[in-house]
Subunit: 652 residues, 2 copies
């Protein structure tokens, strides 16, 4: 826009195209404080309105709905058919073939006896089948929670010197993890897991996958004296200081099975129809390797094997739980961390597959189901379990229709526990290592990392912090650092809200950011700002400084060009979703500061809550004049520009 001889052309021009009546800003319909509190609490804790279906139902129906709400099995059970069963039995057997070797491997990852992994694949799936609302979740031990459980407990108790105490602490941690998960769900505080952002999780998972894989070097290389630490540096130094312990038979066997498993995984990833290749490969490897060891008596040639396993179902373990004593703090902390990590995985998996099949999963209810499953598990010799991503994917691909596939898996594990345990006596540890490595490699999601880099550099930094924190510091600290940075970013965003300078798009009454839409034009005498965030104590000081700087910049820029100073500061409050007492003071201060320079403060479109609070201020006129309140920026400019014209000409 060129400077004009007469500076009043533009408002005139603007007026021509918008011959408008002015709409009044009215306060929202009155609601009492109690009503407001009620609706606020509802939005905060019941955003999904779980009681919606109960409305207007007769009492009997309400009871049935309530029972179905707490036990989803009552919802789908009655309609269960033979066709569904056919699908479920295939998928159940498929995940069982995966669950048995993984259960044994993950228990070893947590430094627990291998059989605990099988116990944990028997009871929890049954509980989940009754309480859970996801149809695809395959329940059992998972790699990351196993890793964290083991590494946190190992800091204070040695699993080799005091295996019984270690086991007791593991069950106690599981109890507290379950209690914590169920409470989160019951108290509707599920949003706490949202603070683990996707970027954090991707970095964390990749780091954990590397830590887990490094731990497998012990069994893959056949090392007997291995460090007890988890981080990259001590593990690698331990590996290369013990090269004499490497056993070529173990390395060869490990390498062959690793290649076989990775190939199987590759095939299934290329052709999802061939999901059974990767699903069956671990069990096939276990069987094949066991036969090999048995045939060649390989355990005498330096290949370590699992050894004798106890037969029989889960023994009760509620008498092993520690509710007091010196380890209570450790157990509660471990329960908290493993609980939140496994909950995050379980909920994310449930939501992913629910979205694929277009049904709803109630996050808070799922938390209660998973929590209860762990509480029951902790008293039946199970450690922390959740919905595992890889097994759930196999379950989904194998055509699972309902939670019955979990029951099938559980029954298969039961049969194994009762009759097949002697078969595992000669299973070499190296194959278990290869199975774990293959499973966790899928957690390193490089395309997602690239995508994050492309979209948001800050998220990428958070991801790197989680990744390097896990690798070089420790699993739980890496996670804490990443969460801390994410929350700091949110607070920084709140402290430094955006203010946009709006200009008019010629020929319309649309006002948009001057620095974005080049065709948008300033209107002389007006400074139009849009505040893009709630105004609260944390940002009033900034906003005041920033707005005063906008005024200052406007005056120095404009004065030289057009000899016009600000007559009106229009604040578009459409995006200010709430305000507190500091915010009200800010507007008061701004109004006073403007009056000193002879300008006027005009507010546009405050939302209901903001308008109410402004009107409740001690002296409303200190904050806003009733005639300086408009519904749209366009109407404000149209109504006020005649005044500007008057003032400008009197200046000349």
């Amino acid at each position: 826009m060129e400077p004009n001889a007469s500076n009043s052309v533009q408002p005139d021009h603007f007026l021509e195209i918008t011959p408008m009546e002015v709409h009044k800003v009215v306060p929202p319909p009155h609601r009492s404080t109690i009503q407001k509190l009620k609706s606020r609490l509802k939005e905060t804790f019941f955003p999904d309105d779980p009681l919606r279906q109960f409305k207007g139902q007769p009492l009997g129906k309400k009871w049935i709905l309530a029972a179905q709400y707490f036990f989803p099995i009552l919802q789908w059970g009655p309609n269960y058919s033979f066709n569904l069963f056919k699908s479920d039995i295939v998928s159940g057997l498929t995940i069982a073939s995966l669950a048995i070797p993984q259960g044994i491997s993950y228990a070893k990852l947590a430094s627990l006896p291998p059989i605990v992994g099988l116990y944990s694949s028997f009871v929890p799936p049954l509980v989940y089948a009754v309480l859970g609302s996801s149809r695809d979740l395959a329940v059992g031990p998972v790699s990351i929670a196993s890793l964290i459980l083991g590494s946190m407990l190992k800091q204070e108790v040695s699993p080799t010197n005091d295996p019984l105490l270690f086991l007791q602490l593991a069950f106690s941690s599981t109890f507290f993890a379950g209690l914590f998960q169920a409470s989160l769900g019951f108290l509707r505080l599920g949003f706490i897991i949202d603070f683990l952002s996707k970027a954090t999780l991707i970095g964390f998972m990749a780091g954990a996958a590397i830590i887990v894989s490094l731990q497998q070097l012990k069994s893959l290389l056949g090392i007997t004296h291995f460090t007890k630490q988890m981080e990259l540096v001590p593990v690698l130094s331990s590996v290369f200081h013990n090269t004499k312990e490497w056993s070529w038979q173990t390395v060869l066997m490990g390498f062959c099975f690793l290649v076989f498993l990775l190939l199987a995984r590759h095939v299934s990833m290329k052709k999802p129809k061939l999901f059974w290749v990767s699903a069956g490969a671990p069990l096939a490897s276990v069987i094949l390797s066991t036969i090999l060891v048995f045939a060649f008596k390989a355990q005498r040639h330096g290949i370590s094997v699992i050894g004798k396993l106890q037969e029989g179902l889960n023994p009760p373990s509620w008498n092993m739980l520690h509710f007091h004593g010196s380890y209570l703090g450790l157990v509660v902390k471990t329960g908290l961390v493993t609980g939140i990590i496994s909950l995050t995985e379980g909920i994310a998996v449930g939501r992913t597959f629910a979205a694929l099949k277009n049904y709803q999963v109630d996050g808070n209810k799922e938390m209660m189901a998973i929590g209860l499953m762990n509480v029951i598990g902790s008293s039946t010799s199970c450690y922390v379990t959740t919905g595992a991503f890889s097994r759930s994917a196999v379950n989904h691909n194998a055509g699972a229709k309902t939670a019955v596939s979990n029951i099938i898996m559980s029954v298969t594990v039961m049969v194994t526990l009762l009759f097949l345990m002697p078969l595992f006596q000669y299973t070499p540890n190296v194959v278990l290592g290869a199975i774990i490595v293959t499973a966790v490699i899928g957690l390193i999601d490089i395309p997602a990392a690239c995508q994050i880099w492309k979209i948001d550099k800050f998220d990428f930094v958070v991801m790197l912090c989680a990744f390097f924190g896990v690798i070089f510091v420790s699993v739980q600290d890496g996670l804490a650092i990443a969460v801390g940075i994410s929350i700091f970013k949110i607070l920084l965003q709140v402290t430094r809200p955006k203010t946009l300078v709006l200009g008019n798009i010629p020929g319309t009454d649309i006002f948009r950011n001057l620095h974005h839409y080049k065709e948008a034009m300033r209107i002389p005498g007006f400074l139009i700002l849009s505040i893009e965030a709630p105004i609260n104590f944390a940002n009033t000081t900034y906003l005041k400084e920033r707005i005063l700087r906008w005024i200052d910049e406007y005056e120095t820029e404009e004065d030289t060009k057009r000899q016009s100073s600000i007559h009106f500061l229009i604040l578009d409050l459409s995006a200010v979703s709430s305000i507190d007492t500091s915010g009200v003071s800010l507007l008061k201060d701004l109004k006073k500061a403007l009056e000193n320079t002879g300008a006027e403060l005009v507010l546009v479109n405050p939302v209901g809550e903001v308008l109410e609070k402004l009107q409740r201020a001690d002296d409303v006129r200190d904050v806003m004049s009733p005639d300086a309140l408009y519904l749209t920026v366009g109407e404000a400019v149209a109504a006020l520009s005649s005044t500007v014209k008057g003032r400008s000409s009197s200046h000349v």
Copy 2:
């Protein structure tokens, strides 16, 4: 609005009144990542653009400006005139008459030797006069910082058993307080003090005033065996368990002087012109009471007096600072808490009077000035000082024009230190107690508390938490609780952003909240939502659930009335000031979920940053179709309503 026979009437009607061309949403002008990072950092750390004045100046001028920036005395010094000096000398002497008794009293409040209070009123004001940019701030010890310093140090070291160590720790804490304050300013992290909201401060101040007053019961009642605790309950029980120690002479004297001081305060509050009444009253009380004690030998009748004070200026104390040893943690913590509290008071006072006289105070620069003042103070036998609210108000009322009034005060204190110290030997402690009570009573701001109750109930709760926390738990814990709750509220706001359902105001192309503006009407086939916050990892889950519920509610409500389902979900993103990778996924998921039901996602007015991030998504079409992007809701509805009409009639 009544149900219509034909559901296409409204879009038609809407089209009639807005014969519009459609404006394109364009990406903002290109800027590189470095440029963006630069401007983001500038907005975050330099919102007030302190280097603005340097732009386009010759080098010599730049040097002068820089010197003036760091030493504001160079700015106003050259223009200093005799007229200004006349004003400053009056105000300087006035605040000196207040500073001397208050200095002695506050040092006793901090359990330090009374003379340290005078030392602290000599050096720091001189430093501030050179470095500070406020013209009204009267610098010296303040009640709350003194209270906190004393109470935190007393937890580990007894001031009576080991007075030298206690003094060393006080100076060391002052050093760390100053270091912390200066670093906050230097690193431009001044916004950290913004997290102490006005509501928190009002509650905290009132609580601290009560705690301070309770402590004065010791000297006001003449009790010799007083509790060392600070909280309400132990202090009151200590007072009433020692009724035998009450001395009627002390009580009588205390009562008389308290009434006198409160009356003087009342007079000055009613008539600000008589500011000198309350300003002079403390010194008058000290002189009068000293004469009384001296004349009647009252110290022999149970009235305790200050006793002999050392003469002479501040001795150096840099050799008394503790930088290691077992008390380092205590000293750093005490420094942090007193530093942030005294900084908050100093900055708030500076800003208040700057706003009254319409000049600017640079918060970060002030922090450096106050910090440096405390660092220098800690090596010249001073404890934590800042700009005191009550004394600054007197300074302002007495007509202070520049920081020279601080110099005058300092010189007066110097004369006192050199020559007048013997006069204080017979000053009774009870008068000092009365002076403190009178000073802190002004910190209880009941009208402000009422105002907060009226405007924002949540802020009121925060205020109460701070108040009761300070009274019943401890000064620092009360503060921590209130800050924690304030931050939790912000996080909750971020986690649960508002979504508004918009409707058209008939006869216009304005769209406003349906639940606020009763005349606003839904447009059949459209669900128009406005998201009122940045979209990030902490709220995507909630937003998804909430939006899906809006859709669900729309369909159940509308279906019965008008047999129309949603054809378009319009998301007004004007208020979404930023988005992260989770937010991009949310839009992707929403688009997919809508496509399953045959509806389409339309985005309106994404701001520059958001638009860029959406376009950088892997496959843009997954997130938004280029033809489903509009500049205003009105244009989107106008352009799309013909489609709805077509679809609806084909449904029939």
